[in-house]
């Protein structure tokens, strides 16, 4: 009787596990972080599609500075992969990185792609590939 209960509890607990996004940090400010990131992206065949200066947009309108900028990044190949695998993946492109100003350091985090793997089981390999590339990009950013 103990066994089914334990198994049930484990199943329920596993459903509550929260995957963490990839993240890396290095000394600098937003501008140096964006410069460093641009270089790293190029080395990985990625393009910096757009920077969304959330911090500046909010300050300009009288709100507090959240110390956040968004960088949208990608590769042409990813659009083709999404169309071939599952068009739902298009909603994740271009991939988003969040830059967070953290007292003399800038932390860059990716969106949490792991949570999509369960939702799009036919695209697990594509998602894992993108995640691996983002992990390599963030690793290089941290180690620059």
């Amino acid at each position: 009787m103990k066994m089914p209960g334990t198994v049930l509890a484990l199943i329920m607990l596993s459903a509550q596990v929260v995957a963490a996004p990839l993240s890396a940090s290095r000394a600098g400010n937003m501008q140096t972080a964006l410069d460093d990131l641009s270089t790293v992206l190029l080395n990985h065949g990625y393009t910096l599609v757009k920077v969304q200066p959330v911090d500046q947009a909010l300050v300009k309108r009288g709100f507090a500075d959240p110390g956040i900028r968004l960088a949208f990044v990608g590769k042409e190949e990813q659009v083709r992969q999404a169309l071939a695998s599952d068009p739902a993946l298009l909603n994740l492109l271009p991939l988003r990185l969040t830059l967070e100003d953290d007292q003399g350091r800038v932390r860059i985090s990716s969106d949490d792609l792991a949570m999509w793997r369960e939702n799009l089981p036919s695209s697990v390999e594509v998602l894992q590939g993108w995640e691996d590339e983002l992990a390599a990009i963030l690793s290089d950013y941290a180690g620059q």
Partner: protein, 152 residues
């Protein structure tokens, strides 16, 4: 057996929470038949404004990844936001940056245009962030209202 009975209420509660969570779809979609991408884009931008959001920008799915002339004509992204909501959300939890700015992807097919948005309520479920859920449910309602109006 006694241990299992003791744990039963907690297990049942977890089970029903799990069921409730599973109820949120990952994507919100509306199909608009017999209209072009440009037409739906225009009505979507009007709906965004009428629901107190600000249109931010519109781009092809492969914008800046290929030369402008080669950009995909059938998949477009429309970004928008509400700065009050953005400020409040970031103060609550910096992870909300992952659902900013708001976005609808337009996919044109032979029969019409599909509008797709990631459901913020599904995202907050994945984060296991009950404190964010009421706000994400409100944002989901806003998305649905905008999609409905754009589809009229």
């Amino acid at each position: 057996m006694r241990l299992l009975l003791k744990a039963l209420p907690v297990l049942l509660l977890s089970f029903f929470i799990g069921l409730a969570q599973a109820a949120e779809p990952a994507l919100l979609t509306r199909f608009v038949p017999d209209r072009s991408l440009d037409e739906v884009s225009d009505t979507l931008k009007q709906a965004i404004t009428s629901h107190n959001f600000t249109f931010v920008r519109e781009q092809a799915i492969d914008s800046r990844l290929v030369p402008v002339d080669w950009e995909a004509k059938s998949v477009r992204i429309v970004y928008f936001c509400n700065f009050n909501m953005m400020d409040a959300a970031l103060q609550r939890d910096l992870r909300t940056a992952q659902i900013m700015p708001c976005r609808v992807t337009l996919i044109e097919g032979r029969q019409g245009v599909e509008m797709v948005a990631v459901n913020p309520a599904w995202v907050s479920e994945q984060w296991n962030a009950p404190g964010l859920q009421p706000h994400c449910l409100q944002l989901k309602r806003d998305y649905l209202a905008i999609l409905e109006e754009a589809a009229l």
